[in-house]
Symmetry: C2
């Protein structure tokens, strides 16, 4: 394990590179990640007990603590490796050979087959996919080893919710139970386990998450496991209020068209920085082919907004959309392996006029597509009309539904208004319908909401949607900082995560202004990992504080490398440190650049600690430093003073 | 008013410049700020009624709204200029000639003189300042036009609290009343005044802040006006729970020694980005002379931590500190014009051992200096012992006290522990003492605190310290993101600001890692302006939402320039936008880069709005779009559909 910062975590500008060259660069990047990207980290696997599975995690190794004697015969204390949740999949596993053209290993293939409830189709069944397949001009764009799609056998339902309700604990469920426990029972040091009592607002957090608990939560609809049977490459994860708060990042070759390799690179980049799921919002050419590459190479669930592609199929004219086009798109994407669909089925014709007096009207792209269709036809939203048919499709592939908030507020002024909440109530009605079909559901939420109005969103969602998981964008707590909306929204995201939101959709610094580049994606993800973790701490998620404790201990002990490596972004931490103290000696210096060598508060604290340790050790009476001490005990004071000074206040001593 | 982004808001790298050249560059920068730094902005002044004062603000001009007819004979709607709180002082006033060597105009000089309770001293009275003055080798370092220090006449008290308690409304108080109202009665458009009800947790927010209300709050000790009589250059501001949440930034030539000009530039840079007060934490050589330059050129209150300089005077050996050295330092700084002192008088000997078992011990620099002194002498903290003498000094110059939290937690693990709260209780005891002397007081707070434990800090502070204003550093809500602690703390800062914290001390991305550069200072400040504003919105501070509403309206109407200019950082917003749509046409395009020209949700909303406007106008029956609509009214639907389409769904129409 190298302790050097690996360039895998850095963005390399490809400016000036030819199209071809930058495609190759992207591919090389993806395929060469798997020698530790994170400094001093190691991929570990924890075995299952019910199923023959091994759950991937990362553990961060630490240096020892120097207890005494800086120079000759130093005394050291061992610091354990800290296991952390790992979303990066096989890309950071040295034992896996990555080949973008072959795709990732099919982790879940045998699990799915063993259930014996799916059939392998001869080929794709959607008209669109067939047409694309018949088009030879696309051959060089196509993912070569495209698998034949799977579908539930006649009369079967293959959703995790269906299994859960029948009392079956799937390998996916056990994988998640182990993963959510973050391997914290490997950490022996008791001090690292110290954690403050949380305030969970009624969440039902478990001391130890069991596979049975996962099953119960999925059966109850309080959590979902997005896992399309046609996406066997994914490492199972769960979205629910009683589990770790998750983060989603968005990719997609919107107006700027990028190559397929570059799209896959964005995906991998997102998983490297902690994206729990990734939504592919592509609207450009060749969406179908690009999506195939993304799915075959994705270790995390992939979500889409099918109406985007449907709109492409009707050349961007919303009025020309129809249930048939939409239905064909759902099947096309389900057979590729999309794990969840965002569908704005709650945008009803009668709600649209409610948005007319808003400051920012309808800001959801999907929402406005449906709104326009409804107005131009004066018919009810077809996604609402045909919602049961949609559920029947989802049943066959285990596609989860993310019921979109098409009428979410686009400004603080529009927060929590009639249109927003009217839609939310309909999403609750649709949740009930989806559950009739054992289809997994999450509910999307805002948007722009000032702090004092955030909790109402969470409470109302829990009530109206029967505790189906909430999945919010931000919310942004003010509108006045374009260029910093990862922060205006990170503030709101941390709060709603604390209140019970299950997944936070990230916002990048480019929100409202332009398309995020790799650096923006990273900043957005780190900001949201912070928000999600702050929420886990506040809720009191068992074990959440271990990493904080370990990092703080390393900070106090001036183990700079460990402080960098235990953080969310070792590269940036090291770079910032090196700007002030570049030389290697700076990394072991027992002072920090803020106070400088002559004086350091941390160092003085060490003196204080040493002194008190001597008192505790009983060498000298501790009566005098008792809190009942009277400041007049002069001789006693003088004695203590002498001892403190004799003990050499400036040097380190054992804290045994 | 130019609408171009002014380079004043950009940091220019001075790498490779000679010492001399970079000093000159810094000086040029400061002296040439005053042609509008902010694009399309204008300095305005609002006159007082009780006193002949004029209160400086900035107003941001906007373009008109195109209501109809993109091409021939377009119809426009006027958009008012939006006044905003302005901390940048005369530097952004084109009418003021800036000369770093002359210092800023002495705004308050006549106000102070008019009270006829101060005497002009022959010269400085502290031993240290005298010695520096006698040292010819410092001549070229000295601020040439150094004013003679003022001091209260014998038996007089010159604090704003003293005046307030005697029923006197000072010009400072009226200035603040006008400033806090943010000139919002100039905004005529009713829609811009829309604001959600706040949740103030018991704060007493005023619909219109009057000079009398300011007086009452200061008399009650619930707010302070940091305003040393020797700092007449400052524009009065207030720190209190019932006023706008304020932000502090720190400067100081710590380990890296920078020139005096560069220190002043850091100050100016901070005020330009919204710093309400600035703390000078310098610990290098020539602190005394540097401070003089900073004060003479500062439009905002300056705070210091006197123990830092006292420690320099005893060559960094904490044990050698004494009340005499400290006392002389307080007088030295008071006579220069320092507006508030951070003093860690609550770090008592008996509390020190309580920190021994902490994960990160004592992390406050000042706190650990006092802790070490206490231990090595086994005497009680001399700042505590001589606290009444300290108050007597503050009385003479109106120096406010910021009672430091020397035992604040340095990690989430140490939050809200015995040591922290024991100190807080002592700070409450000292608050009462200071108030006996009419000395203004604020209380410093943590630190590192997980979200669920933040409110306890605020509530306990209000109780223990009798509602004296709270001034916190962050708090950081997690320890795992070195390099992003402006964000981990911005989340906590927004919350504690909402709960009632009066001022937020910023944290930069370099926290824990190194010394912030100009870009870090800016990012830290913007992050904290966001936190403070989000808190103002959540509390329901009257008028706070106007800027959000104006910016959102400009966003919805694709007035890109206005969206940039109304934001906290027009430079970055514009740069991000231009990365995707560089050409000027992009600035007026009726679509954003996210959706592209073919489809834009904002544009569709316009269609929806136009359509509903036609309904409202009564041209056609709105019965059909009534919420009681039945989806079977087919002909009606068809009719509406035809009308919508005939109305040309794709083009803009009047929304009159």
């Amino acid at each position: 394990m190298s302790n050097q910062v690996n360039s895998n975590l850095k963005t390399s500008s490809r400016k000036g590179l030819s199209r071809k060259a930058s495609r190759r660069a992207a591919q090389d990047y993806i395929q060469n990640l798997n020698n530790e990207s994170y400094p001093n980290s190691e991929k570990i696997f924890i075995k299952g007990e019910l199923h023959p599975i091994k759950v991937a995690m990362r553990q961060i190794h630490q240096a020892d603590t120097l207890l005494a004697g800086s120079g000759e015969q130093p005394v050291f204390e061992k610091n354990e490796a800290i296991p952390v949740y790992d979303t990066s999949g096989p890309y950071t596993d040295p034992k896996t050979k990555i080949d973008v053209h072959a795709g990732l290993p099919k982790l879940r293939q045998s699990w799915i087959a063993a259930r014996d409830d799916v059939e392998t189709l001869e080929g794709v069944t959607s008209n669109f996919a067939k047409a694309r397949l018949a088009n030879d001009s696309l051959d060089d764009l196509r993912f070569a080893n495209r698998p034949k799609p799977l579908r539930a056998k006649k009369g079967q339902c293959v959703t995790q919710m269906h299994y859960a309700r029948r009392g079956i604990i799937t390998p996916e469920m056990e994988y998640i139970a182990i993963r959510e426990n973050m391997g914290r029972d490997r950490v022996k040091c008791e001090a690292l386990h110290f954690q403050h009592a949380g305030h969970s607002f009624g969440a039902n957090l478990q001391e130890k998450i069991t596979p049975e608990f996962v099953r119960q939560e999925v059966a109850r609809g309080r959590a979902i496991i997005p896992s399309n049977i046609n996406h066997p490459e994914l490492e199972p994860m769960i979205i629910g209020r009683n589990f770790l708060v998750k983060v989603n990042s968005n990719i997609g070759n919107s107006s700027v068209s990028s190559s397929i390799e570059e799209e896959v690179e964005k995906l991998v980049w997102s998983t490297l920085w902690g994206g729990d799921t990734v939504m592919d919002l592509s609207t450009g050419r060749n969406i179908h082919e690009t999506r195939e590459w993304i799915l075959r190479n994705s270790p995390v669930p992939i979500g889409t907004v099918p109406i985007y592609q449907a709109l492409e199929k009707v050349k961007g004219v919303a009025e020309d959309l129809s249930w048939d086009v939409f239905r064909d798109t759902l099947i096309e994407q389900a057979e590729q392996g999309v794990d969840y669909f965002t569908i704005h089925a709650g945008v009803l014709l009668r709600f649209v006029p409610m948005t007319a007096k808003r400051v920012t009207g309808i800001v959801s792209r999907g929402g406005s597509i449906f709104a326009k269709w409804c107005l131009s036809h004066h018919k009810e939203n077809f996604a609402y009309e045909y919602f049961r048919e949609i559920c029947e499709i989802c049943q066959l592939y285990d596609v989860s539904l993310s019921l979109g908030d098409g009428l979410r507020p686009g400004s603080v002024a529009d927060a929590n208004d009639q249109a927003q909440f009217a839609e939310l109530e309909v999403l609750g009605e649709l949740t009930k319908v989806a559950w009739e079909y054992d289809v997994q559901v999450i509910i999307e939420g805002p948007g722009h909401v000032p702090m004092q109005m955030i909790k109402e969103n969470m409470d109302k969602q829990l009530d109206d949607c029967f505790e189906a998981p909430f999945y919010t964008l931000g919310p942004l707590t003010t509108d006045i900082a374009p260029g910093y909306d990862h922060i205006t929204s990170g503030i709101g995201a941390a709060q709603i995560g604390w209140y019970g939101c299950a997944m936070l959709c990230y916002v990048t610094p480019k929100e409202h202004l332009g398309l995020p580049n790799k650096d923006d994606v990273k900043v957005g993800l780190i900001t949201y990992k912070i928000a999600a973790h702050a929420a886990d701490l506040a809720k009191g998620h068992p074990g959440a504080q271990i990493r904080d404790n370990a990092l703080s201990k390393s900070r106090f002990e001036f183990r700079w490398e460990d402080q960098f490596n235990l953080g969310l972004d070792p590269v940036t931490a090291r770079e910032y440190h090196d700007e002030t103290l570049p030389q290697e000696s700076g990394k072991v210096a027992h002072f920090c650049s803020m106070c400088g060598p002559k004086f350091c508060s941390m160092k003085i604290t060490q003196d204080v600690r040493d002194f008190t340790a001597k008192l505790d050790s009983g060498e000298i009476s501790i009566k005098i430093l008792d809190e009942t001490i009277t400041m007049t005990a002069a001789e006693g004071m003088a004695l203590k003073a002498k001892e403190f000074n004799d003990s050499g206040a400036e040097i380190y001593q054992p804290v045994l």
